[in-house]
């Protein structure tokens, strides 16, 4: 057996982030308390360099390396860049918040960095094992982050719930993977795809396909947990609510991109020939998410919980995009479908960052601005940020011409192209229900008298970045086509149709 040194070049970003996290870990261990800023600065620098590295090494090539474990393609690159920027933004937003509550310790930033590494591994995984490792790396870091405010009972309870349910989901996923391995004899995603394709012609009995289908169901369940769709959504409101807002910000944003990548890798990359089966499953979950997410959000008085339910419904929309790819074995709509889904994921992350950013902006030491009532009369306190929040809410509700509208539109177009008109109608009706709670926020900001009259004091970096973030929502609504084209390009280059 001869050992060949693998080609590390395609994985340079991940290796860099991994190396830097170790460096930061060691540095901060030997650093005095007062120099804790270094950890933050280094983390941000690492993320920026990682994004730049990805940008400069980006090309349309698909390169598989590290014994089939790792794939470097355009979709992965685009998503990695977005993940980096999303985490950078989240850390900037959350910094003041964390400092006020005394948990901006080096570990906090390190965990964020480790979670980013996990996400990157997920995004570029070409193998069940690397995917699983990435997922666990992400999840374990997030458990830690949720529990970071360890003196808060709510925070620890949320972390506990997240951990237990996460462990369950991770078990389901692993079980599913093992069964797929049993049925196909492969762990690499491309190998699995090949094996299923070859076997499709020669399935003699039900038995091996049953094993495969069992595996598929368990994998979909694990995936659904990560996306947070009904009925695997129960953790979402509690964790979003319980975690410190700066951590909610991190859970609710970049991991959604990673989860989308995971869905693409597993379902489209590995199990594409079973599309008609997993599409039905996604359909059930999407409908459930749209209905439950939107309706339950109405009953919420807590803004973070409301956004959690709204996130569930958005993930339902994302699934709608994924499930419209294959129509009765015909793949003509696949590209449109996955493009719309990717576009939706990106749009959601941009909006989600901004919405939690506003909550953080309004919070101050000893006060969490997390109830809808806390937004009352925001227009009188700061008409600028009221306008920004209005942009976010309009965009989330899908009002033209913000990015959220085009995200919804592209998913709906894909559904209609796939002859799933009833799903499109349902999605529109549920969006209408959703418009109620988004517009309620706007109403409260503009028409109610302020309860909390304290001036908003936030660092200027948050103010500027948050404004830019919100304006990006409006601006991307004017130029949606470019982003859609980018998604399409990335998917074409990565999956060849």
């Amino acid at each position: 057996m001869n050992f060949v040194v693998p080609d590390f070049a395609p994985a340079v970003t991940e290796l860099f982030v991994a190396g830097m996290s170790l460096v930061i870990l060691l540095l901060t261990v030997f650093m005095r308390e007062s120099a804790r800023n270094i950890g933050y600065v280094l983390t941000q620098l690492t993320l920026i360099v990682a994004a730049l590295l990805t940008i400069f090494t980006m090309d349309g090539q698909v390169r598989v390396t590290l014994s089939d474990m790792y794939v470097d393609d355009l979709m992965g690159d685009v998503l990695k860049i977005l993940i980096c920027f999303s985490v950078i933004t989240a850390l900037i937003y959350g910094r003041g918040y964390a400092a006020d509550r005394g948990f901006d310790r080096p570990e906090y930033h390190l965990l964020a960095l480790f979670s980013t590494l996990g996400m990157m591994v997920m995004v570029t995984a070409n193998h069940f094992l690397s995917l699983y490792i990435g997922l666990e790396m992400l999840s374990l870091s997030l458990y830690g982050l949720v529990a970071f405010d360890r003196d808060s009972a709510r925070s620890t309870e949320a972390a506990m719930k997240y951990f237990i349910l996460g462990a369950l989901a991770s078990g389901l996923l692993l079980y599913g993977m093992s069964m797929v391995y049993g049925a196909t004899g492969n762990l690499s995603l491309s190998g699995v795809a090949q094996a299923i394709y070859n076997q499709a012609a020669v399935y003699d009995g039900v038995s091996s396909k049953t094993v495969l289908m069992f595996g598929l169901v368990f994998i979909v369940a694990g995936l659904a947990f990560k996306l947070g769709v009904v009925p695997f959504h129960m953790w979402v409101p509690d964790v979003y609510h319980g975690a410190p807002t700066s951590v909610t910000l991190m859970i609710g944003t970049a991991p959604k991109l990673a989860a989308f990548a995971m869905a693409m890798r597993l379902l489209v990359g590995g199990l594409f020939d079973l599309a008609e089966h997993w599409q039905t499953m996604l359909m059930l979950m999407a409908v459930g998410s749209l209905v439950l997410g939107n309706i339950a959000a109405i009953a919420q008085t807590n803004l973070k919980r409301m956004l959690a339910y709204s996130g569930i419904s958005h993930m339902g929309f994302l699934l709608l995009g994924l499930l419209s790819g294959v129509v009765e074995g015909d793949r003509f709509n696949a590209l449109n479908a996955y493009t719309s889904s990717m576009f939706y994921a990106i749009a959601y992350v941009v909006m989600s960052l901004a919405s939690f950013g506003i909550i953080i902006l309004l919070s101050r030491s000893g006060f969490e601005a997390e109830n809808i009532d806390d937004l009352k009369g925001l227009n009188k306190r700061s008409s600028w940020f009221a306008a920004m929040m209005m942009i976010i809410m309009f965009s989330m509700a899908g009002i033209p011409f913000f990015i959220g509208f085009f995200a919804k539109l592209s998913v709906l177009q894909s559904l209609v192209a796939a002859d799933m008109v009833w799903l499109a109608v349902l999605a529109v009706m549920m969006s209408l229900v959703g418009a109620f709670y988004y517009l309620r926020v706007v109403k409260v900001m503009y028409f109610d008298e302020p309860v909390d009259t304290a001036p908003i004091h936030a660092a200027s970096d948050i103010r500027v970045l948050l404004s830019a973030n919100c304006l990006a929502i409006a601006f991307l609504g004017l130029l949606p086509q470019q982003l859609i084209d980018l998604c399409q390009l990335a998917l074409v280059a990565s999956f060849q149709g």
Partner: protein, 674 residues
């Protein structure tokens, strides 16, 4: 070419920048800052237009996309420019008149607290109008169309504390909605049947369109192209104030006078004319639509002229004159003399802007008294205004050698040659219209500038009987007894002089290239059988010859008869009109009530809508929608929402249980298939 493309962008964007500066930062930059910024913007646009004009003259036209907004299926929504002869002419007219009006406004609005706002609006208007004329697709056309409508609405209601102004701007807005409804239907039909909004692509498919029919009512097929053209023309009727959608234009005089000159005379109201000329490849294919256009235009041209005779408000006379002249242009469109229509559009823009600004200058001199019965003999006090108004009036009535003569006579000749159904009626209307035009124009001229000096008598007792016409007191001072009118400042008189020059000259120099040369060859399409201008061309032997011949034609005699009659009635024997008024009381009442269009609209349309609204509100909305559907749905949803809160109990075993249930459901999917 890319430098030219940048230049194209400069034209609309410079006024927009001015509008933004004056509008959003008006307080910061102050009054002077506001007018400097906006005037600079418009001047840059004018200058760029001149450069583009030279470029077009050298044969460089352009049709391309600047920015793709979105793509929906095969339909792409774009912003693009079509720069050809027609466009560049409109650009020159719009920017030139706009610049004059900007200058003039400095004097006219001097004391107004909304100074910056006003400048911002008129610059915004200039931007919108330029976007409209430079468009290469229906979407952008519609954008410009609606944007000029919006600015018009804002400016009619500029003095928003006056109830009459608010009423007038609502009216303008609502009446234009009716037109836009047709316009939008037309655009929709075009998009549905050609799959494109781009002019060039649509025109390329025009022949294919003309073969299609559409069933508006089951069993009655219509030519699709006729339906499209009539729908589009209904839009033009709203914007260009053609009967019966004209009712908003006289009321729009509630706005400040510079606006009446710019928007409600020279440019915006001609958008409809421009649009139809632009759509000539479509209109040419439908004789039905052309007939419709002729009849509407002819009716407007004559019957709105009559109304000018009975008005006492100086601005309203000019407003009705505008309506009548728009009717002339529409008639020209109907007889396929698109170039004559556009030619008249251009000359009219100059002399009508001149007349309006002159009227404005009179109003300044009279301290915002607009009633002609209080004027008379002003020529001694306002020499420049007097002379330029005389020039404008002569141009309007079509006195040979002046610009109006060339354009109006060309239209009359074109109508004469036309064989389209309705052309006979139109010929009668435009010929009689010449007499009427001359009569009301010189009635106004004599009443204002000549005869006994009637001002300074504090004549304010007419409020009672003319409530709906008179501006309310805050701007209606009039001269105090003994006070004399005075000439307006130079910012007012200079634009008058600058506008008087093209009013005299432009017709003479441009008639040959515009009507008979190949200036519009690429922009306007006329089928051979409709080519009235071509027939007219055979009788044309140069502008000077045409003007000389003009002294011996029927229109000239009619015009002179009108002038003489006006002179006799209002200077020599002022008691005659009063006697006639008494004798023909019913006729006068009819005219005074503007043929009862307003009454009719108020009772039938407004009343009907209110009744319908009431019914839908009480029965439909409050009963079914609110009661059953909205509140019913809301109650159901809130019940479900409460129930879902119960599920979210916080107990972790419930959460895990839900996951397991979900897994089982997903598994059962497979086994139910097997």
């Amino acid at each position: 070419m890319s430098e030219m493309q940048n230049l194209y962008l400069v034209v609309p964007l410079a006024p927009l920048a001015g509008a933004i500066l004056a509008g959003l930062f008006g307080k910061a930059i102050g009054r002077t800052g506001a007018h400097v910024a906006t005037i600079l913007g418009v001047a840059v646009a004018l200058f760029a237009s001149i450069l583009i004009y030279q470029d077009v003259q050298a044969g460089n036209t352009f049709n391309g996309t600047v920015y793709t907004w979105a793509t929906s299926g095969n339909l792409s929504l774009e912003v693009g420019f079509l720069i050809d002869e027609l466009t560049v002419m409109m650009m020159l007219v719009v920017t030139f008149v706009s610049l004059m009006v900007h200058l003039y406004t400095i004097g006219y609005m001097q004391e107004d607290p909304g100074y910056q706002r006003f400048f911002s609006y008129i610059s915004l208007f200039t931007f919108s109008m330029l976007m409209l004329v430079m468009s290469n697709n229906f979407l952008q056309l519609f954008f410009g169309w609606e944007a000029v409508g919006l600015v018009s609405y804002l400016l009619i209601g500029f003095w928003y504390t006056r109830p009459t102004a608010i009423f007038a701007n609502m009216k303008a807005f609502l009446v234009n909605r009716v037109g836009d409804f047709g316009f939008l239907l037309g655009i929709g039909l075009v998009a549905a049947h050609t799959g494109s909004l781009d002019y060039a692509e649509v025109f390329a498919q025009a022949d294919a369109l003309s073969a299609k029919t559409i069933e508006l009512f089951p069993g009655a097929p219509w030519l699709l192209i006729s339906v499209i053209c009539i729908c589009l023309f209904i839009g033009a009727m709203g914007k260009s104030a053609q009967v019966p959608l004209h009712v908003w234009l006289p009321d729009s005089m509630e706005g400040p006078t510079p606006i009446s000159a710019l928007i409600h005379a020279a440019t915006m109201v001609t958008a409809g004319i421009f649009m139809v000329a632009r759509m000539s490849p479509l209109f040419e294919l439908s004789e039905t639509a052309l007939s419709f256009v002729i009849v509407i235009g002819a009716t407007t041209a004559l019957f709105m002229g009559f109304l000018g005779i009975v008005q006492n408000d100086i601005k309203r006379v000019v407003a009705y004159s505008t309506l009548s002249q728009l009717g002339y242009m529409t008639v020209a469109l109907g007889v396929s003399a698109y170039s004559a229509a556009v030619f008249h559009l251009m000359t009219h823009a100059f002399f009508k802007a001149l007349l309006f600004l002159g009227a404005g200058s009179v109003i300044i001199g009279m301290h915002h008294d607009q009633d002609m019965r209080n004027m008379g003999g002003l020529w001694k006090y306002m020499k420049i205004t007097w002379f330029t108004s005389l020039v404008g009036s002569l141009a309007l009535i079509g006195f040979p050698f002046l610009s109006g003569f060339f354009s109006k006579d060309s239209i009359i000749e074109a109508v004469h040659f036309s064989t389209i159904p309705g052309a006979g009626y139109a010929y009668f209307c435009v010929i009689v219209g010449v007499f009427v035009t001359a009569f009301y124009s010189f009635r106004m001229y004599f009443l204002v500038f000549h005869g006994k000096e009637r001002f300074g008598q504090a004549h304010h007792d007419h409020h009672g009987d003319h409530d709906d016409e008179e501006p309310s007191d805050d701007h209606h001072h009039g001269l105090a007894p003994g006070q004399k009118p005075h000439e307006s400042p130079w910012v007012v008189t200079v634009p008058l002089i600058l506008l008087a020059i093209p009013s005299v000259l432009i017709g003479f120099f441009t008639i040959e290239p515009m009507l008979f040369g190949d200036w519009f060859k690429r922009a306007i399409h006329v089928t051979a059988s409709h080519d009235t201008i071509g027939q007219f061309a055979e009788h044309f032997h140069g502008a000077a010859a045409m003007a000389m011949h003009g002294f011996t034609t029927l229109p000239f005699f009619l015009a002179m008869a009108g002038v003489v009659l006006a002179w006799f009635f209002y200077l020599v024997k002022p008691e005659i009109p009063a006697a006639i008024m008494r004798t023909f009381k019913p006729l006068h009442t009819l005219l005074d009530n503007k043929y009862y269009f307003d009454k009719f609209n108020e009772v039938v349309f407004a009343g009907g809508s209110r009744l319908l609204g009431q019914g839908l509100w009480k029965g439909g909305d409050q009963g079914v929608i609110d009661g059953l559907i909205v509140n019913g749905t809301a109650r159901t949803i809130s019940l479900v929402a409460q129930a879902s809160r119960l599920l979210q109990s916080g107990h972790i075993y419930m959460y895990a249980f839900s996951m397991i249930i979900g897994l089982c459901v997903l598994l059962s999917l497979w086994f139910s298939v097997v």
